[in-house]
Every structure is written in structure tokens, then in C-alpha cells.
């Protein structure tokens, strides 16, 4: 479970986050929905302790990422639209590297790697070097890496940007698996379709503030508007930077 209370962050004189408060439950996919530049990436970086907040509280299963970032990260899977593959390493070596950094034992790495191969269909690329991988192959490797250490929390930053249909399906399959296992998933996105298809809970964020939280249906009821898209526009106050 991830809880934030009145989190603020300034870069110079700019308020990147003015006041963010929400609770993301275990066993749910929570969308962090906001237009471009709303502060989604900054928020995720605060959650893994890459940046320090100026104000407020953050708790990741009771641990403050500002105090003990290493402990928090050990239980977080982090995926961005940049998959960060090493061209001269094979898929297996890539998975090994990150699994070892998470302190996994050899036997566990082997077992989890076999599971990931089955779940994502990595058979043909597991012992190939990443150079020349297609976008779909890249995200599969990145997904395998993210879930290999079975973290309790998943942070995804615009994961579906630039993905084809097959890759999106792989992503959905992984998210469904994780949700069943009771993980707490936060997905930053500005794509409406992902929200309606994948998410149980939506946090709407605009200009660095959380403006609403609830299930897609609850948000529609709250605004009195039937479609989530229109509800979102009404909550954010602008159509800029939103994709259908």
C-alpha cells in the first residue's frame, strides 16, 4: 500500500507538486491520470526516493523512501517507456543483473526466469543479445525484469507509449497476473483507454495537485458526466495534453 499526504516539491521557484494526497491499495491497479507536465514523473521519482520532497509524508508499506530508499526500492518494480536494455548483454544476463542487484538467490533467479519466459513468450530471445531487438521484444524483456523479483509495488511511467498491439497485450497480461497476486500497481498515464480497461481506481492530477480520486464510475457520478473522458476534462479544466 502506498500513501501520500500533502506532498509538495519545488524546482527552483516552480511548483512541480503543489499538494498530492492519495492512497493506492494492494491488489488494485491505480491510474495516475493527468495531462503532460502535471507532475506524474516527479511523483514517481519521489516514491522511489530518487528525489526528496519538500513537504508532506510518503509511506510505501510503512517505509519512507526519503529515509530508506534502498529498502523501498527492493520492493518496487519500476518501468518507464525507456526500457534501458544493454545491447551487449543477452536477455538472460540482463535479467540476472537486475535480479542480483535485488539480492535474489541463484535458484530463485532461475525459477523466476523460467516463469517469465513462459508468461511473456521469451523462448526465442532469452539467449540473444539485445542489439537489434524490436520494440515488442524490448518491452517484454523490460516487463520480465520488472516482475522478476516479485515486488509488492509496481510503478509504471507511461508504459504503453509507442507499443504495438501485441506488446500492449503482453503488458496487460502481466498487470493482470500481478493484481491477482495482490500487488499494489500505480500507472502514470495520460491515455484514457488504458484507464478504462485496466484500472480499478483513478487519481486525477493536474498542475501538481490531486483533484479527485475514485473508481472510473465514481468519478463520472461525482462530476455528473457520463463518459470518463468528459469527466476528466471537467476535473482537469483543460483538454490540453490528454490522449483518448
Amino acid at each position: 500500500m502506498i500513501i501520500t499526504e500533502d506532498v509538495r516539491k519545488k524546482f527552483g521557484s516552480v511548483d512541480a507538486l503543489a499538494s498530492v494526497s492519495f492512497t493506492a491499495q494492494d491488489g488494485q491497479t491505480t491510474a495516475l491520470l493527468g495531462p503532460n507536465g502535471a507532475g506524474k514523473t516527479t511523483l514517481l521519482r519521489l516514491l522511489i526516493g530518487l528525489l526528496q520532497r519538500d513537504h508532506g509524508n510518503i509511506s510505501v508499506d510503512g517505509v519512507d523512501p526519503a529515509r530508506d530508499p534502498i529498502r523501498v526500492r527492493r520492493d518496487i518494480g519500476f518501468l518507464t517507456d525507456q526500457f534501458g536494455l544493454y545491447e551487449r548483454l543477452t536477455t538472460r544476463e540482463h535479467l540476472d543483473y537486475f535480479a542480483k542487484l535485488h539480492g535474489m538467490a541463484k535458484a530463485d533467479i532461475r525459477r523466476r526466469t523460467d516463469e517469465a519466459i513462459a508468461l511473456l513468450g521469451l523462448e526465442d530471445i532469452i539467449d540473444r543479445r539485445a542489439k537489434g531487438f524490436s520494440q515488442g521484444q524490448r518491452i517484454k524483456v523490460a516487463l520480465a525484469r520488472t516482475l522478476l523479483h516479485r515486488p509488492r509495488h509496481f510503478l509504471l511511467d507511461e508504459p504503453s507509449r509507442g507499443l504495438d498491439v501485441m506488446s500492449t497485450r503482453a503488458l496487460r497480461r502481466v498487470l493482470a497476473t500481478l493484481r491477482e497476486e495482490g500487488s499494489c500497481i500505480i500507472m502514470a498515464t495520460h491515455v484514457m483507454q488504458e484507464v478504462t480497461h485496466l484500472c480499478d481506481d483513478v487519481i486525477v492530477i493536474a498542475r501538481g495537485r490531486t483533484v479527485a480520486q475514485g473508481s472510473p464510475r465514481a468519478l463520472c457520478e461525482q462530476t455528473g458526466i457520463a463518459s470518463l473522458e468528459d469527466a476528466f476534462v471537467s476535473l482537469v479544466g483543460t483538454e490540453e495534453g490528454i490522449a483518448a
Partner: protein
């Protein structure tokens, strides 16, 4: 500590698969000793050529000057007597590069000689050819011949030949072989250590600016690893490559310099294998320093290309002590052992001359490089932790 080894192992694996890094290693570790060998061989050859080779001279009109021929032959030159030739024929003959020079004695030399008028002797040579030493010897033989005749004529008139030489010049050269060669060999030795910077360059850039370019650094920072462990892993991996390269280079260079007859040009290489092992050991801190400073610089570049531009300046810095200090002809002083590269260069130079190097100098050489390496690593770690850096990855 355990995660340091994980990062280290991964960087080493990647480097060993990086053709560019390996090519740099092979090139610099082998190329420099090879160049050194070529250069030394050429210098020694040129210096001793005049002694070893017979100098062949063509003399036209030799029948007029039998005494001169005798003087030339006494000076170790072979005389090839020819009939008269015109200018083109002489030029063509010299163009064949067999004869060092052509001496043409004018047909009226004998009559001029008899009437005590200056007899005409022409000396033809090609100054574009590297035969200056031979021509100089021929000229001095001609000079000796001329003054012998002058002295004989003066004696015949009852004048002491000493009247012709009011000044007797005697030259003394106090340079010892070692000091004469100090500049050249000092410069050469300095260049040995610059290799540490060149070999580690590619890996230093690939593990920092390269990670940023591929956008894997942000991901790496989101893992449960301390920035210090990341930097240390990359640093030691980069240095290891430089240590391997520098050791190969020093071994090769040692074998080459041992087998080159340096004493013929007044140079010395009096290093034993024990000294060499110590030099290799003391080079490890230098490799650590080179890798640390390059990582500290390259991590600020956003792409491999940007890093390359930055590093071309960075590599010039260690070359300054390597090239400039020998030119300044400074005396070995204690402060030199506190400057990386210069310290190693001075140390090796002293050893090459056969001087004993005090233990303190060894200690200072190692400690100074380690100290600066520590500073650079601390800076890199600090940078990697800073929010401004995280925002820009």
C-alpha cells in the same frame, strides 16, 4: 559491497564484448612499443650508418691529384675513378644513391698547382639526401689535403707553418651519454603512461554517458543500489582494463628497450625485471586515477558523442607533463612525485638511468594518484546522488 561486485562483473562482461574498447586496448598496448622500436632502430641506424657503411666517392680527373686520392682513401673512403662527365651525368649518378659525392678535378689543376695558383676542385653532392656525415668527412679530407700543401709551401719558403694557425681550437663535450638522452627518453617514458588514459577512455564513456544515452541510467538509479556502489563498480571495471593494457605495454617496451643497442647512441635502459614489476605495480594507482577522472568528466555528458568531445580535451591534460616537462629540462625534484603521470615518468626515468629511487618517492607516486582518484570518485558519487543530476538523466 556485494552489489559493487555485481556492477563490476556486468561492466567487465560488457567491455569484453565491446570491440571498440578492445581495439583501443590492443592498439595502444602494442602500437606504442612498436613505434618505439621503429623510432629507436632508426635513430641508432642513422647515428652509426657513417661508421658502418663504406663511403664511395667518384673522382673525375684522379690522375692529376694522386696525393689527394691517398688522403681520401686513408680516411676510409673508396675512390671510383671516372672519365669526365657533364652536369646532367653527375646529377644522374648521384641520383642512383650509390656514391655519396663526386669530386671533379679541373684539367688545368696541375698547371695551376705548379704555378701556385689556386687549383680548382669541384665537390658535387645532393643535400636532399641524408648523407651529411659522409660529405662532411670528405670535406675535412679535402681541407686536410689543402692545408698539408700550404704548410709544405710555407716550409719551402722558410716560414713556420705555425704562423698559419694562430688559434688552436680544442673541443670538450661534457655531456654524458645518459644526460644527452634524458630529454628524448624522458618524453618517451611519459608517453607510456598516457596510454592508461587512452585505454580506459572508451569504457569510462560507455558506462556513464553511454548509459545516459541508452536511458538505462535512470532505471539503474531506481534499483536498490547505493550511488557509491554503482560508481565504484564502473570505476574499478574501467581501471582494470587500463591496468591490463598498461602492463602489456610496459612489458613489451621493456623487452624492446632491453634488446635495442641503446648505448650506441648514449642512452641507457638499466631496468631489471624486479624494477619493472614495481613500475607495473605503481602504475595501478595511475590507472585508478585515469579511470576516476574520466568517469567524473564523462558522466556529465548526455551522449557518447558529447563525451568524446569532452574527453579529447581531458586526454590532453596528462600529456602536458609528459611532453612539456622534459622540454623544460627541470631537475628531478620531490614535488614531481606528487603529480600523477609526471611522478611515474620521473620515477621510470630515474630507474632507466640506473639511479636508486628512494622509498618515499615510490610511496608519493602511488599515494598522490590514489588521492586524486579518491577525490574524483567522491565527486562522481556526489553528482550521482544530486537531484539536479537525477532530473537530467
Amino acid at each position: 559491497m556485494k552489489r559493487f561486485w555485481i556492477v563490476f562483473a556486468k561492466e567487465v562482461t560488457e567491455t569484453l564484448r565491446d570491440r571498440r574498447a578492445l581495439a583501443m586496448l590492443g592498439l595502444f598496448a602494442v602500437m606504442y612499443p612498436a613505434l618505439l622500436w621503429l623510432m629507436m632502430t632508426k635513430i641508432i641506424n642513422d647515428a652509426t650508418k657513417a661508421d658502418r657503411e663504406t663511403t664511395e666517392i667518384v673522382v673525375i680527373g684522379a690522375e692529376h691529384v694522386p696525393t689527394l686520392i691517398g688522403v681520401i682513401e686513408q680516411n676510409g673512403m673508396t675512390v671510383d675513378r671516372r672519365a669526365d662527365m657533364n652536369e646532367e651525368e653527375i646529377t644522374a649518378l648521384l641520383g642512383k644513391r650509390r656514391h655519396a659525392a663526386v669530386v671533379r678535378v679541373a684539367p688545368d689543376f696541375t698547371s695551376d698547382y705548379a704555378s701556385m695558383r689556386p687549383g680548382r676542385i669541384e665537390l658535387w653532392f645532393d643535400s636532399a639526401r641524408d648523407e651529411r656525415a659522409k660529405v662532411r668527412r670528405l670535406k675535412s679530407a679535402l681541407g686536410a689535403y689543402s692545408s698539408t700543401i700550404a704548410q709544405a709551401r710555407l716550409l719551402a719558403h722558410g716560414v713556420s707553418p705555425a704562423a698559419l694557425t694562430p688559434v688552436r681550437l680544442q673541443e670538450y663535450d661534457t655531456a654524458s651519454g645518459a644526460s644527452r638522452s634524458a630529454n628524448l627518453i624522458g618524453m618517451m617514458l611519459g608517453m607510456f603512461f598516457v596510454t592508461a588514459f587512452l585505454i580506459s577512455l572508451n569504457t569510462a564513456m560507455d558506462t556513464t554517458a553511454g548509459e545516459r544515452e541508452r536511458r538505462s541510467l535512470e532505471l539503474l538509479l531506481a534499483q536498490p543500489v547505493h550511488p557509491a556502489e554503482l560508481i565504484a563498480g564502473k570505476w574499478i571495471a574501467t581501471s582494470s582494463l587500463a591496468v591490463v593494457g598498461l602492463t602489456i605495454e610496459l612489458l613489451l617496451a621493456h623487452v624492446i628497450l632491453k634488446w635495442t643497442p641503446l648505448e650506441e647512441i648514449g642512452m641507457a635502459w638499466s631496468l631489471g625485471y624486479a624494477d619493472l614489476a614495481l613500475v607495473c605495480l605503481i602504475s595501478i594507482p595511475l590507472c585508478l586515477f585515469a579511470a576516476a577522472i574520466e568517469i567524473a568528466l564523462a558522466m556529465n555528458a548526455r551522449s557518447f558523442k558529447e563525451a568524446q568531445t569532452m574527453m579529447s580535451f581531458a586526454v590532453l591534460v596528462p600529456m602536458i607533463p609528459a611532453l612539456v616537462v622534459p622540454m623544460l629540462d627541470l631537475k628531478t625534484a620531490e614535488w614531481m612525485y606528487a603529480v600523477p603521470v609526471l611522478a611515474h615518468q620521473t620515477l621510470l626515468n630515474e630507474l632507466a638511468k640506473g639511479h636508486a629511487v628512494p622509498a618515499l618517492a615510490w610511496l608519493a607516486t602511488g599515494a598522490s594518484s590514489l588521492f586524486y582518484a579518491g577525490l574524483a570518485v567522491a565527486f562522481s558519487t556526489y553528482r550521482l546522488k544530486s537531484e539536479r543530476y537525477v532530473l537530467s538523466v
